[in-house]
Symmetry: C2
Subunit: 337 residues, 2 copies
């Protein structure tokens, strides 16, 4: 199949482009390069032997999106593009709603016009919000608690209503847990702009000397070691999950929701210890106050994806840290270096 990947130059996008190529698909990448670099596509080409077709397009530009579809041949879409930082979304909600909603609506309308009705959407465990008990199960009522999460929830609602109204649509809503790691080659990986929002990229930048120490937000939670528990998933497992979801919906109309997670929680200190093992030396850290909005613990019920897609995570937290470190050590300044 010929797959359009929006946001394909980003962290999860670039790994998924590679997995799609390895599975024999042709890939067209669309990205506005606001939070990513086209260098990731050159690295993917080096790994796969095939250069993905790339278009520097912002989804809010309806005419530019139309041109990509008019060129023809697209069978399905994997939609990653969107702004993604929770804290920034609280400060700049209009920018988040505008980019994520208008971009997605332009994309769906172009799909309609060109009779493309298969889409895999990059949602998030954030949609489960603050009120659901762990582990999170797909059938729970969702309700995000910040603007970023609300854009994901709203797009899930939009796609769900479209799928309910018109049985030509094949829709997969993938709720990611905490993606970390990098391709084992060390050639592609996460390249956050500015101060990393997530744990492992922050640890990696401390390890490589770009930051002084890790701040651990809260050591007094009701968890085994007092730090927050999250469900970490290796980005290559996550990329394979997209290929599995795409294959599943290709043959089946409807709206499907799957958690993509490992099904278990790991604490901040456990991840830190794994990363120290990978690096071979201690990483400086300090336990400080809790951060507003952080939940003590959440992880996926991962049984639906296993049952429906025969997919589950294969890589351990140790492997995530080893691969993340290989990428960071070889590319201390990300793609810019």
């Amino acid at each position: 199949m010929k797959i359009l990947v929006t946001g394909g130059t980003g962290y999860i996008g670039s790994h998924t482009v590679l997995s799609l190529q390895e599975a024999g698909h042709e890939v067209v990448v669309l990205d506005n390069l606001v939070n990513s670099s086209e260098e990731s596509m050159r690295r993917v080409a080096e790994l796969s032997g095939t250069t993905p077709e790339f278009h520097n397009v912002d989804l809010v530009n309806e005419a530019a999106v139309e041109r990509v579809f008019a060129a023809g041949g697209i069978d399905a879409v994997i939609h990653f593009a969107g702004l993604k930082a929770v804290g920034e979304s609280v400060r700049e909600p209009l920018s988040y709603y505008y980019n994520n909603l208008v971009g997605t609506l332009n994309l769906i309308r172009a799909m309609e016009r060109h009779d493309v009705h298969s889409i895999v959407f990059s949602s998030s465990a954030t949609v489960y919000g603050e009120h659901n008990p762990v582990p999170y199960v797909e059938k729970m009522e969702i309700g995000a608690s910040n603007p970023y999460g609300r854009t994901k929830e709203q797009i899930e609602d939009i796609l769900s209503d479209i799928g309910a109204a018109d049985d030509r649509w094949h829709i997969a809503l993938l709720r990611y847990f905490n993606p970390v790691g990098a391709h084992p080659s060390g050639r592609i990986g996460e390249d956050p702009q500015g101060i990393p929002n997530n744990l492992v990229p922050f640890i990696a930048q401390v390890a490589v000397g770009r930051r002084e120490k890790l701040m651990v937000f809260g050591g007094d939670y009701d968890t085994p070691d007092g730090t927050c528990l999250r469900d970490y998933i290796h980005v290559v497992d996550l990329a394979e999950g997209h290929v599995a979801a795409l294959n599943h919906v290709a043959d089946r109309a409807g709206v499907f929701r799957w958690n993509l997670g490992s099904g278990k929680g790991s604490s901040v200190l456990e991840v830190l210890r794994s990363f120290e093992k990978a690096v071979g030396r201690p990483i400086p850290y300090e336990i400080t106050g809790r951060r507003a909005g952080d939940l003590p613990a959440f992880w996926a019920d991962a049984t639906s994806a296993l049952a429906d897609l025969s997919w589950s995570t294969t890589k351990t937290v140790d492997q995530m840290c080893e691969d993340h470190w290989r990428w960071q050590e070889n590319n201390p300044n990300g793609y810019a270096g």
Copy 2:
């Protein structure tokens, strides 16, 4: 103040334009005329003595919206424009999400660019969804159950997040119950395209001979007479509620939510009897099966609007029916006649 009214040629919009003019405001109307007629503006001018400035603009056209703001002088916005039929929204969700969300986001962005930060938004009691007990209170957790209602809920969320992020914003979210009636002059009123979705316009078209009989959906609900209870509000009361909300938020930053309803429920058969009294003869009707998605009963807790705005409804169901009938009798085919 100079007030931009989006959707100002429609049913509630046109009555609000008149109330704004009567309160001494200058009005600029923007409408795409998809579900309405510019004739309503000529009638408003005839009643008030002042022709509102009118622009035939679709909010999804960002450049056209920009031109209206660039002309300058707008102090505040009342935002009615949007698609509004529940059943149609279930069949054509993409059209609802595209028009209502993209239109609103373009409007808010234009307001930002031109330093206009006061908005009164036309929300709906629909946002209370199916799970809340009656009467509905503003502090309840919202959750709409159809695409139309979800666009209202999403826009409430967007505006709430914007208000929380930036204290320059003055935002009123008005949750309407069931608007009926018409201006007592009989010159402006509701002019639905196609088969009316709401009770009173349907009864009125039966009374005027455009339809054979009223179908009453369900006579076996657990209500006093077995038919559904709704909170009907005279459109002139509703229009005055907008002026009151605008005056309130003009002086106060923040996000405010008010029900605009009477605070009590009337049954389908009670409204029918009132309308028969206004017309002076029986209206043919038939009680048939329940309609999917209809709630047995809901009405507003109307105490917040009274406390904050010193506003409450003043007109009875009998007056709503008399005024609605005067409009319908004088304009059997609406503005087209």
